[in-house]
């Protein structure tokens, strides 16, 4: 469970990115966070990743109070999260298999475990046949699938996706959303930050809308209407 209580975040520049944010996300939920640029969505993800600290307030992720977490525990905490970005952030000099295995390697997993998990993860995202391909040989949708496989290989409890369909065409965007939905149904909590109202409407999941650092609505099975 993720509990964000009375969180404020003001950057050193004076920019008030978040104001009195209160959110509770249960285990296994699928949540969209939407809002205009500068509404504070990305700052919220950064707080959950413990990339930045809140100015005040409390964030608890799976019983871990991020405010009281020493820096040395941050890597272990992050292993319980998976992250997907708009620009995929794949390693261009490594093929699909190596990109996914990379996530296992950097946390010191055994080669045996990698040999077991990587093929099954590639199968799950539908890229078994392309395991030898390099990122530049894949379409945007396929690259995002690799990124999702990499985010999931360490079996995180929570998947954070920051504009995962931002660089994709409509068809690929829907495919990625279906994949995220599938992952969610397997038990992983999924939090997606997006601009795409169309996808949000299509998925009919919980929608948290943010504006100028505040939560303006939080609806179950929400739909968004263009202004």
């Amino acid at each position: 469970m993720i509990e964000i209580t009375n969180v404020y975040k003001t950057y050193d520049t004076g920019n008030k990115a978040l104001r009195n944010i209160n959110i509770t996300i249960e285990d296994g939920e699928f949540v969209f966070i939407i809002g205009r640029s500068g509404s504070g969505k990305s700052t919220l993800l950064k707080l959950l990743l413990k990339e930045v600290e809140p100015t005040s307030g409390k964030i608890v992720v799976n019983d871990m109070n991020l405010g009281k977490m020493p820096r040395r525990y941050v890597p272990k905490y992050r292993r319980r999260l998976g992250v997907v970005f708009q620009d995929f952030r794949l390693l261009k000099d490594r093929n699909v298999y190596e990109n996914v295995a990379f996530a296992q390697r950097v946390i010191g997993a055994s080669p045996r475990k990698m040999r077991e998990r990587v093929p099954s993860m590639l199968q799950m995202v539908g890229l078994s046949s392309k395991y030898k391909s390099f990122p530049q040989q894949l379409s945007g949708g396929e690259q995002q699938r690799v990124a999702i496989a990499r985010a999931l290989i360490n079996r995180p409890e929570v998947l954070l996706a920051d504009e995962p369909t931002g660089n994709l065409d409509h068809h690929n965007a829907i495919e990625i959303m279906k994949l995220l939905d599938k992952i969610n149904r397997m038990g992983t909590t999924v939090i997606v930050v997006t601009h795409s109202n169309e996808l949000v409407n299509l998925m009919r999941r919980r929608v948290i809308t943010m504006d100028r650092g505040c939560i303006v609505s939080d609806e179950e099975g929400g739909a968004v209407h263009e202004d």
Partner: protein, 302 residues
Amino acid sequence: MRISTFWYCLKEGVKNICRNVWFSLASVATISACIFLFCLFFSIIVNIQHVVKNAEGTIGITVFFDEELSEEQIRELGTQIGEMPQISDMEFTSAQEAWESMKSDYFAGHEELAEGFADDNPLAGSASYQIFLRDITTQDQVVEALEQTPGVRQVNYSNSAAEGLSSFNAIIGILSFVIIGVLLAVSVFLISNTINVAASFRKNENEIMRYIGATNYMIRAPFVVEGLVIGLMGAVLPLIGMYFLYLRAVGYLAARFQIISRIFQFLPLSQIFPYMTAVAVLLGLGIGFFASFFTIRKHLKV
């Protein structure tokens, strides 16, 4: 640490070097130049110190005793003096031996002139100890202690020689310290630059690693390996060069300038090379390790 992780870090470190090969080569070349200069100074310094040490062994303190003391009493005093830790060696010269030595030095060929003193040794009461020190810089201290020893009449020593050798040693020490310090700073700066370039190449990878949950140790390892490999290469190359240069130089100087080889006994390569190798390799690895370790720190902020 798993063996597979170790090999991975090693492979990534080498990959870093290959990825920006020109920067790496520039770093290796500069460290090589620095360590080569270090080896050169090291050779010169240890050879000079060898000469200085030899000279220290030949500069002695002569101690004369009260005339009324018997030879036995003087030898007892000698045993007592010999317990001083600063003393490396002592030689006793009896009054008779002193006179015999003087006769052979000053009356050679005119022994009849010394006959007049046959029954009356003019150097009676001149039994002495010649004392050699472990370290010439302790001479003043030893002389002071000897002068305060009951039974000691006179202490002869060469103050200027001791001071000259001491200050020469000190100058060499300071000079080498300054040069090595400057070279170290240059090497650290260069490796640091190379690691910065490598870190910018791997910026994306490092960011992904951080988000995945890699420890700082895991992120840092390839860069430290890179620094260590550059440092090691930067040490090995000049050592190879120095090995042949030293042999050639010593052989050339000994053959061409025989006067030099009489005054200046070069240390054999086998005697200095193991130390030079150890210091150069440690220096190379040390520069590589510290420069990479501390440079990469600023790229680890999470």
